[in-house]
């Protein structure tokens, strides 16, 4: 279990949950959600306390948006396989059997090259680090690291539609996100990890994706909450 939060940190969690923060304060709190599981849990606890207030929102009649929603659903495409995979992920998380399950997950991956990935896992079980990155909005990515080459392969399985671009971060034990640059919103991106950051791609470090403006990337710090995050496991 992580250290209990100070009163100040718990207040910050409440303020973020309530939506009081803006600008740098909000960015800072969102960054803390990314870096500190205890803080993220406190934000969740405050949401659970406050959310029942929703009861008091008055209704308002919208135009019929269903056709638009249905069209966007259809555009999401190959949803079923991805949903199956997501089901697997949510149920497996926290089970402690994540590493063992990853090979199974990779077999399930839709798309052209799952076999390659699996073969690599089998061939070099002690050298390849992998992570699955998932998020609340349904974002799902698989990461595969080759320490010999210093190359991370990020495969975007399901990403929310956005005008912003996915930016990859590694968050080591110190909790400070370091940008690994922008990655593609679909397909596989090969990320050459800068030599100074390679030591951070280790078992237990977190990989996270936030949506960022293309301009100025790689950024010094994320500007929003991650759409996906996952821990690196060596297998």
């Amino acid at each position: 279990m992580a250290e209990p939060l100070t009163r100040e940190q718990d207040m910050l969690a409440a303020e973020l949950a309530l939506g009081l923060l803006e600008g740098e304060e909000r960015t800072g709190a969102l960054r803390l959600v990314l870096a500190d599981p205890a803080f993220a849990a406190a934000v969740d606890a405050w949401r659970a306390r406050l959310d029942p207030l929703c009861d008091d929102f008055a209704e308002a009649t919208p135009p019929d948006l269903w056709p638009a929603i249905e069209a966007r659903l259809a555009a999401q495409g190959n949803g079923d396989t991805v949903r199956q995979l997501r089901f697997w992920r949510w149920s497996a998380i926290g089970s402690g059997a994540v590493a063992a399950s990853l090979a199974a997950a990779m077999l399930l991956l839709p798309g052209p090259d799952p076999v390659t990935v699996v073969r690599e896992v089998v061939r070099a079980p002690d050298q390849v680090a992998v992570a699955q990155l998932g998020g609340e909005a349904g974002a799902l990515l698989a990461a595969n690291y080759d320490p010999g080459e210093g190359t991370l392969r990020i495969r975007a399985i399901d990403m929310p539609q956005s005008e912003l671009a996915p930016e990859l971060w590694v968050i080591p034990a110190d909790g400070v996100p370091r940008s690994l640059g922008l990655v593609g919103a679909s397909g596989t991106t090969r990320v050459a990890v800068p030599a100074r950051l390679r030591a951070l791609i280790i078992d237990g470090a977190t990989l996270a994706i936030t949506m960022e403006p293309v301009a100025g990337a790689p950024h010094a710090a994320p500007s929003s909450a991650p759409v996906a995050a996952g821990k690196i496991s060596k297998i």
Binding site: L20, P52, D55, F57, A60, W66, F87
Partner: protein
Amino acid sequence: MAGDIPSQSDRERLTAALSRVAAGERAALREVHDLTAAKLFGVCLRISHDREAAEDILQDVYLKVWNRAGRFDAARASPITWLCAIARNTAIDWRRANGGPTLVSDDHAAEIADDRATAPERIEAMQERARIFHCLDSLELRQGGAIRSAFFDGLTYVQLAERMKVPLGTMKSWVRRGLLQLRECLGDG
């Protein structure tokens, strides 16, 4: 049960529909949409203060519901609360990303009072009603009012201070004291 508290059967119907959404059934999402669009549009509209934006936000909300329905846990939250929270958070994200109107007209101040005034009318439904309402009503008026405005209108500290014409530091200390009392009243931490 009178009033706008959803009946048990509505709740069960919505819970069942969400579990079918989680299994990938598109018709079930339509059912969730039909049952909840007016409520969730109300949330998006009140927080965004922008009808066109609220329509876009509402679409995003149902796409999120499609993707996240597997995470709904009927033991932890009522389905409508869970859906409203998604709508509210999506609308707040939109507002923070788009600036949103900084100045809020005076009649919104009246709305805060209204929220409080209407509460007793629902007292017969109190058992159905979450304890947070009781706790919020027990706060000092300006503390409770500020927390309500943050929740229902999506106002930030800066906007709250502007509206209530107090220094930012004063507003922060009101809200923080209110939040601490809320937590104590709810008795969970």
